[in-house]
C-alpha cells in the first residue's frame, strides 16, 4: 500500500503537510476543576484536571513547587483489539512519566508549593498520534482549570515517506514500521522544543526537514487551540455578564 499516491495525496485524502480535522471543547466535565475533549481526526482524548489541592502522597510533596500527577490511560475499547489493561502497563507508566516532565516545564510550578495537580488523560479512540492528542488535550484542560502556564504546549507528529515529509500521522501510516515517526511538542510563542521523540531510524540529512514540518504542524494546531480557548473565555464572560 502506498502512503502517498501518485496524485500526491495520502490514504485519507490529505495533502502531505495537512493536519487532520481538529475539534476541541473546554469544560466538558462539571466535577473536575478543568477538562477538555479533543478530536484529532479519529483520535479522541478526554483530559481532566483536579487541583491544586493538598498532596495525598506524602513522599511526593515538594516544599518549593507543585507535584504534578499525570495519568495516561487508553480505554479498553480504544483500539481494534480490546485492551485488557486500560492503565498501569509499562508503556502507560512511561508515557505518564514523560508527560509529567513536559508539563513541569510549562506550568509555573513554584506558585503552589506543597500541593498537587492531577492530570488525567484518557484516549477514547486511538488512531495515531496518541501522545500528541494527549498533550494537546491536557494543555486545553489546564487552560480551563486556570492553572498558570508559561505558554500553550502544542504537539504534532511528523514522518518521512519517500523523502517527503508528512505531518499529523494517522494509525495506518504509523503502522509502516520502516517510516520514522517524530513526536514533537513546542511552546508556540518562543518556539522552544520541549519534546522531540523519534521512533525508527532517520538519516541526519532529513532531520531538519522533518523538524520544520513538525513545528509547522504544531503551529497549525496552536492556531485552532488558541481560537477555541478565546471562544471559551468569551462565552464564559458572556454568561457571567448575563447573570
Amino acid at each position: 500500500m502506498e502512503i502517498i499516491s501518485p496524485e500526491g495525496l495520502r490514504i485519507d485524502g490529505r495533502r502531505p503537510e495537512e493536519i487532520r480535522r481538529f475539534n476541541c471543547r473546554l469544560g466538558v466535565l462539571s466535577r473536575a476543576d478543568g477538562s477538555a475533549y479533543l478530536e484529532q481526526g479519529n483520535t479522541k482524548a478526554l483530559a481532566s484536571i483536579n487541583g491544586p489541592h493538598q498532596a495525598g502522597d506524602k513522599a511526593k510533596i515538594k516544599h518549593d513547587r507543585v507535584h504534578i500527577n499525570f495519568q495516561y490511560s487508553m480505554a479498553t475499547f480504544s483500539t481494534n483489539e480490546r485492551r485488557n489493561r486500560p492503565k498501569g502497563d509499562k508503556r502507560s507508566i512511561d508515557i505518564s512519566q514523560l508527560m509529567r516532565e513536559i508539563f513541569q516545564s510549562a506550568i509555573l510550578t513554584d506558585l503552589y508549593p506543597k500541593s498537587q495537580i492531577d492530570i488525567h488523560v484518557q484516549i477514547l479512540q486511538a488512531d495515531g498520534g496518541n501522545y500528541s492528542a494527549c498533550i494537546n488535550a491536557a494543555t486545553l484542560a489546564l487552560m480551563d482549570a486556570g492553572v498558570p502556564m508559561k505558554d500553550f504546549i502544542c504537539s504534532c507528529t511528523a514522518s518521512l515517506v519517500d523523502s517527503k515529509t508528512i505531518i499529523d500521522v494517522n494509525n495506518s501510516e504509523e503502522l509502516h514500521f520502516s517510516n520514522p515517526l517524530l513526536t514533537l511538542a513546542i511552546l508556540p510563542t518562543s518556539e522552544e522544543i520541549i519534546l522531540c521523540q523519534m521512533k525508527s531510524r532517520l538519516h541526519a540529512d532529513h532531520l531538519e526537514d522533518i523538524l520544520k514540518a513538525g513545528i509547522k504542524g504544531c503551529k497549525d494546531i496552536y492556531e485552532i487551540m488558541h481560537r477555541e480557548v478565546l471562544n471559551h473565555v468569551r462565552e464564559a464572560a458572556a454568561v457571567m455578564n448575563a447573570t
Binding site: D33, G34, P52, H53, Q54, A55, K58, I61, H63, L108, Y112, P113, K114, S115, M143, D144, A145, G146, V147, P148, M149, K150, D151, F152, L187, P188, T189, S190, H226, V229, L230, H232, V233, R234, A236, A237, M240, N241
Partner: protein
C-alpha cells in the same frame, strides 16, 4: 466579574515591557517582558508613584491555597492535650472546593500565658474557628494560630446541641440550658473590615 472590555488574553501572550508595567497576578516576566500565564482579561491597575500593574482577571477561583498570613475559617475535627486537628474550609471570604487539613498547636492558641493553656478549655470538635496561617507546617497539614484577639471560636454548639452565645473571652453560654462552656472566643469587636 464586571463587563469585560477588549480581547481575552492567553498564556504566552506578551502584555508589555517591565520598563512600563509591573507584573501582577497571572503574569510572569521573561527577558524583560511581561507575559500572561492565565486565560482571562487584561487588567491594568495604576499605582501612585509606581509603574502600573498588569494582572489577569479570570472567572475561575479554583487556584486558592492557604498562604502565610491569611485568615481562614476552619472546623475542629479532634482535640488532644498537645494540639487539635482542623479542616480549613474557607480562605478569607472564599469557600474552598476541597478542604485542607490544618493543626492548631497548644502554644499557638493564646498570645499570653501560653503555658497555662488547656486544650480542652479552648476547642471542642465541631467548633468553627477563625485562625491565621502561620506556617505551611509539616507535609500533612498547615499550622494555624488563634493568638490574636479577633481570632478563635466563632461558632460552637453546646452539649445540648444549641448554638451558644459568647459571654466573655473564655466562656460561651447555651441559651436553652444556660450551661456555661469554656472556649477560646473570638473577639468580634476587634474585627476590622479587612
Amino acid at each position: 466579574m464586571a463587563a469585560e472590555v477588549g480581547n481575552p488574553v492567553i498564556p504566552g501572550q506578551r502584555l508589555g515591557s517591565i520598563d512600563q508595567f509591573s507584573a501582577g497576578l497571572g503574569t510572569y516576566v521573561r527577558q524583560r517582558h511581561i507575559y500572561a500565564s492565565l486565560v482571562g482579561y487584561k487588567d491594568i491597575i495604576s499605582q501612585a508613584g509606581q509603574l502600573p500593574k498588569i494582572q489577569i482577571k479570570t472567572g475561575n477561583v479554583s487556584c486558592n491555597l492557604p498562604t502565610i498570613g491569611k485568615v481562614v475559617t476552619a472546623k475542629v475535627l479532634n482535640v488532644n492535650p498537645r494540639f487539635c486537628r482542623v479542616l480549613i474550609i474557607c480562605i478569607g471570604t472564599t469557600p474552598l472546593k476541597e478542604p485542607f487539613k490544618g493543626t492548631i498547636r497548644k502554644e499557638d492558641i493564646r498570645a499570653t500565658e501560653k503555658d497555662k493553656v488547656d486544650m480542652y478549655n479552648c476547642f471542642k470538635p465541631g467548633d468553627a474557628v477563625l485562625a491565621e496561617v502561620i506556617s505551611l507546617g509539616d507535609p500533612r497539614s498547615y499550622y494555624l494560630s488563634t493568638a490574636k484577639n479577633e481570632l478563635g471560636v466563632i461558632f460552637a454548639k453546646s452539649t445540648a446541641g444549641h448554638p451558644m452565645v459568647p459571654i466573655s473571652w473564655t466562656e460561651m453560654q447555651c441559651p436553652h440550658t444556660e450551661k456555661i462552656e469554656l472556649r477560646k472566643v473570638a473577639g468580634i469587636k476587634y474585627w476590622t473590615d479587612s
